[in-house]
């Protein structure tokens, strides 16, 4: 049996909330997966904070850190227990500015110390942390923050960039800003810059290098760069045979009908990459494009450190919010939301064998569309298990959560911490017991491998 848990992260104290919880991301302490952070943002002001769970996602609290207004964000958790939170906010200048914050007490954090130079005019920061075991303690936290840098050429360029820090736990960490676009002189790279590290020092970063754009579509290359020394050498170790420049073009002339939408969701934000923890030569990638009649997610892989890439191993039409992760057995996890009969189906799929072509399929949620709900979501593997977060309309109807059938412990199927009716009519309830209008919440999920010992909990949903 695979055990699946789905939890609405809004705590009971915020039962009157009707905010759109936008851009959910997730970070897990790999040494203690009971500790999880889900970050998202709501309508400003006073929206700077993140959700924290101390019991593997069963209960959640919202921690506010500093006053101000928060924009895009993501967090990374190290095995040392440090939380690195990368967040764009700057209420003083109104210019989105990357701040890298750190805490060893994520459960009670207030205003957090900043450890990197603020980077103004950035978009979509994406944090990845890898704790590297050193011969002599302490271990070192490698921190990689991908983002788009708009600070050059009066904002007319957008440069895929990674901030690299090889010892983020140091009292005064040193960051190196590394632009990874090696071709265009006035680059306009896509929104997603996604780093992923392996324990042997290999670091891949996937990004989109736009070649042209009009009012109704973008033509881009899907590019992967690699650094074989923890990112210290400038990401020049993987070149393309066409021009011998750094950055292997996995696909070229990729058409994406940005800014068209799918179920109210704007296209063009579905790039994700994952490396096999057993072998850094094996790397999977997914993106979405309009090569077919419908916007389609494509999963491909390389078995030779990014030098050559497969054809499509899996395609999913009418889907977005793609995320990839690979567990300790080399099993690939793939999350996405697919528009089916006017509803968003949140799927989580895992490879069934080494071909990369056979996948199971767990439908975590099936909910009405709700306009723009996020650009990205994220999945992470810890040992054999997968943990992730997705945005969805929060009507507490058990029919909306097929993978977690209703039980006496969870009459809503998914676990709702906020007040909700326990029988039809299914509705959210405010602190006064009256109905609250549905909105979009961040839903945590965990898909536990068949062979993983079940932690003590009464939250089991089962999937054959």
């Amino acid at each position: 049996m695979t055990v699946v848990r789905v939890v609405d992260t809004v705590p009971a104290e915020r039962s009157d909330e009707t905010d759109l919880n936008w851009q959910p991301s997730i970070a897990i302490n790999p040494a203690n997966p009971n500790e999880i952070v889900v970050s998202f943002y709501t309508e400003p002001p006073n929206n700077v904070g993140y959700s924290y769970s101390y019991d593997r996602g069963q209960n959640w609290q919202l921690n506010f850190s500093e006053p101000g207004e928060q924009l895009d964000q993501s967090a990374g958790f190290s095995a040392s227990g440090e939380l690195y939170w990368t967040v764009a906010f700057d209420p003083a200048s109104d210019i989105p500015t990357l701040h890298v914050l750190r805490t060893s007490e994520p459960s009670t954090a207030g205003p957090l110390p900043e450890i990197d130079t603020p980077r103004p005019e950035i978009d979509q920061p994406y944090a990845h942390v890898f704790t590297h075991g050193e011969p002599t303690p302490p271990d070192k936290d490698r921190l990689y923050i991908g983002y788009i840098d708009h600070s050059h050429n009066n904002g007319d360029s957008a440069i895929a960039t990674v901030d690299v820090c090889l010892d983020a736990r140091a009292p005064a960490p040193s960051f190196t800003q590394v632009p990874i676009e090696f071709r265009a002189s006035l680059p306009l790279d896509g929104y997603e810059v996604r780093p992923i590290a392996h324990g042997d020092g290999t670091v891949y970063v996937a990004y989109k290098s736009w070649k042209s754009w009009t009012s109704n579509h973008v033509i881009t290359s899907i590019v992967v760069v690699r650094d074989d020394n923890w990112g210290a050498d400038g990401f020049v170790d993987l070149t393309d045979p066409s021009d011998t420049k750094p950055g292997r073009m996995v696909a070229t002339n990729v058409r994406i009908n940005d800014p068209q939408d799918l179920g109210g969701q704007r296209l063009d934000n579905d790039l994700s990459i994952a490396v096999d923890p057993r072998n850094s030569a094996t790397v999977y990638i997914v993106w979405g494009d309009n090569a077919a009649a419908q916007y389609t997610l494509r999963v491909r892989r390389s078995l030779d450190r990014g030098n050559t890439w497969s054809n499509d191993l899996l395609t999913v039409a009418n889907a977005n919010l793609a995320g990839l992760a690979i567990n300790s057995d080399g099993r690939v996890g793939f999350v996405y939301q697919q528009l089916v009969s006017g509803l968003w189906e949140t799927h989580f799929r895992r490879t069934l064998d080494g071909t990369g072509q056979n996948w199971d399929d767990i439908i975590l949620a099936r909910t009405p569309t709700a306009g723009q709900i996020a650009d990205y979501c994220r999945v992470i593997a810890v040992a054999k298990d997968f943990y992730g977060v997705f945005p969805a309309l929060n009507t507490p109807d058990p029919a909306n959560f097929p993978a977690t059938p209703a039980s006496s412990a969870n009459p809503n199927g998914a676990r709702f911490l906020r007040n909700a009716s326990k029988a039809a009519p299914w509705q959210l309830l405010g602190s006064n017991g009256l109905p609250v209008v549905p909105s979009v919440d961040a839903f945590f999920y965990m898909v536990q491998d068949e062979s993983t010992p079940d932690p003590p909990t009464d939250l089991e949903g089962t999937v054959q």
Binding site: P11, E13, W22, N46, Q61, F64, D123, N154
Partner: protein, 252 residues
């Protein structure tokens, strides 16, 4: 300002501005915590909320609920004391915790409540002070600008042209364009959306340093303004209030 005997209004005003959770309450226990995942500390006070004065609507009605307050100075409070607490949100989940900015005697409760009630008007005054022009006008038409793909969070500006323009502050130029965001993203969700035929009072501001402005064409000679804050568009029925506020400001 802590628990001074007689706080003046500017002090109360600043405390209200700086806080996002304000309530009067009774200290239940010192050095304790009512939040499951927050261990007790010496500088904590568990406070029973008697009267919420300003709070996040997501919390609902806070009356008769407990809040753990991280105090600036634990020596200043004792159990059973009643105080007004000015705080910042901290933890919400299996209890509520907040960080103290200040506290004061409950005899000032009505003054604080009145100041909280004045916050929208004070915000309007700030927007008026920051505006270049204040006009009464009709929106003649609105038009989208080319979609800006550069920033995922771009505001996706639209232009509005105004007619029947009457200046309440400043001299309106003959030709001007007002930009407003159309993006539904949370960072722009509160911005006013203008519609053709709409009549109102518009607090027009200089374009901000960010986000980048759209390409409005090489021949544009119009003066460009923006409306970004909900207070920047007021119904015509607010005219007397706005004129009064403008007079008061110019008299200073």
């Amino acid at each position: 300002m802590r628990d001074a005997a007689v706080p003046d209004q500017p002090e109360i005003q600043k405390l209200v501005q700086d806080s996002n959770l304000i309530f009067s309450g009774t200290v239940v226990e010192m050095g304790a915590s009512s939040v499951a995942n927050l261990a007790p500390r010496d500088n904590f006070a568990v406070v029973w909320v008697d009267r919420p004065l300003s709070s996040d609507p997501a919390l609902g009605d806070l009356r008769r609920r407990k809040v753990t307050v991280e105090l600036l100075d634990r020596e200043e409070l004792q159990p059973d004391q009643k105080m007004i607490f000015f705080t910042l949100n901290w933890i919400q989940g299996k209890g509520i915790a907040a960080r103290e900015i200040a506290h004061m005697e409950t005899q000032h409760e009505d003054e604080v409540a009145a100041e909280v009630a004045r916050m929208p008007e004070r915000h309007l005054a700030e927007r008026l002070a920051d505006s270049i022009l204040v006009v009464v006008a009709d929106v003649a038409e609105t038009n989208p600008t080319p979609f800006d793909v550069r920033w995922r969070n771009a505001p996706q500006w639209a232009t509005a042209t105004l007619r029947n323009v009457e200046g309440l502050q400043g001299q309106p130029p003959d030709d001007m364009v007002v930009l407003f965001p159309t993006s539904a993203r949370p960072m722009w969700a509160r911005a006013p959306r203008l519609k053709g035929g709409q009549r109102g009072i518009f607090l027009l501001h200089r374009p901000p340093d960010w986000p980048p402005l759209p390409d409005l064409g090489p021949d544009l000679s119009s003066a460009v303004f923006t409306v970004l804050d909900p207070a920047d568009v007021q119904p015509a029925s607010q005219r007397s209030l706005i004129e009064k506020m403008l007079r008061e400001r110019s008299a200073r």
